[in-house]
Symmetry: C2
Subunit: 352 residues, 2 copies
């Protein structure tokens, strides 16, 4: 890629860690956040990697996000807990909640931890990866600033709420699903606009709710959910798990990281973690996971040159490659990270 | 509808209960199963209501399903449990597992109960409704006989695994989502075939995995998952929760209710139940749920005459109407139910 170089994972992690610390984030929290963002970069999910560190730190600098939150568990009973994020960084709140959820699952078989008063927390895949590395199954999600209309509606009221699911494997890539509820990401529509291309029918509607193939009309309108009312319903279910059950903000109470810079985002997250060792034991669990993998892998592919994939395989291959040869990083982003790591004030960035 | 009459809910429930009892199902199990099947009919989900009782009882009669299973909890720790369905009827295994999941959630905040060696368990909505009536949030799913190809595959290897989510409301219909992973049900494609109509692009592929608008080719091929790789990924995640984590059958190890009559189905189910009273308390929970509802209801609709709906609203209205005026039922089905309730042997039925 032009304008790109590569950087070893450890070096990127150090830059992220130092950037957070210089912004006033305590060491353990800085490590938690760096693990999540660099984890995304390593998997090739660069839209949700250290690129996001720049606006996060800009909001700390503006006094909007709290660099050193007091992460309190406000309710806990056996396997369930509710955490107040105290307006901290999303990956700090999310990463800490995941740690607690993993501990509670080990002692209770299953856990449910939800958080309120957090922010954008990056991709879900790195959280799922961490749970899988501890031999735990993880189902997680977050609500988000609304960019979708309810099914049959003509106003932005629902977040394109992502959801993730991770299940460990003994050898070979973990099962890691990380998806948002729209058919395509807005970023993909922005790329069509840049190339002056129309978009396929079914991706989006204009601001009146009328189907459109014009990327500009689509960006002023709404992306459409997968399966119509089905994706809309799942997005609402995620909002209930992350927003309602944490006693936090829901639907259009959630603010944008970019469009409402003067406000905290008030995002909610949730983690449901299950310990297979406690349900059926690791031996039977692994045997059954491999039965599922074998069934998919033995399936005749539509294209003989493209064998069937399972969620997480591409990201795992990417991570393997990037661990060897370094992570590709944009020159400008690397320069910004180096400046932040050296303690310079952040320059704000336009929406990704 | 021609060939239809109406029957009061209580009368239908009595017929179902007696039919199960006459087939050798113990009273409490018969009641559990009748609650689920009649609950589906009441909500207007007649494809998954008492119509299913006929093949269920036919399989008992053939000695394939176990009318009086010993439902053993084979692993339990705090909030998590694994049940062996002992080849019992799906709604008996599922309804019993849900009851245990609700009890465990009340004492642990959250519970995870999964089952193996069960059968087709009907619609998910009646299970979600039961949890909601107990003021509990419920996330449930089941694996199923494969009718979908993996994304990029050209063979039936994945069930069109349904998933459901219920969240209670203080007044007004509960939030109840009950969806399968295909864009449309195979039944809808069968209707197009009967009417000699083509189907829209994107619904299905033929048996080579090539997109088709011919309903006959589609029925010989595979229905497509919502959001392509996204729906495929969710279907696999459900298989992990229901099949892998119960130590049961997965993917194409699960048998068809209709096509493999000589075998038990070996279906797996799961229930994750959360008690809002234990997380944030019912008062804040209800306030937050209503905030979510208000946001959707205040959304400007695309069509001024069709206000935005939330999952479960249509089914709740139908149930209200059917409670008043009786449930519409096909004459032939009613005749079959009356015969079964009187202890006659079942006549087998073609696939619904």
């Amino acid at each position: 890629m032009p304008g790109c170089t590569t950087i070893p994972y450890d070096e990127l992690h150090t830059l992220a860690l130092q950037s957070f610390e210089k912004a006033g984030v305590p060491l353990q929290d800085a490590r938690t956040a760096a693990d999540i963002l660099c984890g995304a970069d390593l998997m090739g999910i660069d839209t949700h990697g250290t690129k996001r560190l720049i606006p996060y730190i800009a909001r700390i600098h503006d006094g909007i996000f709290n660099p050193a939150p007091d992460l309190r568990i406000i309710h806990q009973k056996a396997g369930s807990a509710v955490m107040d994020g105290d307006n901290g960084l999303g990956p700090v709140v999310g990463g800490t909640a995941l740690r607690i959820a993993c501990e509670l699952a080990s002692s209770n078989g299953v856990s449910f931890v939800c958080c309120r008063n957090s922010q954008h927390f990056g991709a879900i895949a790195p959280y799922a990866q961490q749970a899988c590395d501890q031999k735990l199954v993880c189902f997680a999600g977050t609500n988000a600033y609304p960019t979708m209309a309810p099914w049959g509606g003509a106003e932005s009221k629902v977040g394109n709420n992502p959801v993730g699911f991770g299940a460990p494997r003994q050898s070979g890539p973990h099962f890691i699903l990380d998806i948002a509820m729209s058919i395509v990401a807005r970023g993909k529509i922005r790329k069509s606009l840049e190339k002056n291309e129309s978009i396929p029918e079914g991706w989006a509607v204009d601001k009146q709710g009328v189907p459109t193939t014009d990327p500009s009309e689509a960006l002023n309108g709404f992306v459409l959910p997968i399966g119509g009312h089905k994706g809309y319903g799942i997005a609402l279910a995620i909002d209930i798990l992350a927003g309602v059950l944490s006693g936090g903000a829901v639907a259009d109470e959630v603010n944008s990281l970019f469009k409402q810079k003067e406000h905290a985002q008030r995002v909610g997250h949730f983690f449901i973690v299950i310990d297979p060792a406690v349900t059926i034991g690791m031996e039977l669990y692994h045997e059954r996971m491999e039965a599922l993998y074998t069934a998919m892998k033995n399936c005749r592919p539509q294209d003989a040159h493209s064998p069937v994939l399972l969620p997480g395989e591409i990201e795992s291959r990417t991570a393997e490659k990037y661990r060897r040869s370094g992570i590709p990083i944009d020159h400008d982003l690397l320069t910004s990270l180096r400046r932040l790591a050296a303690g310079e004030a952040p320059a704000d960035v336009p929406q990704a």
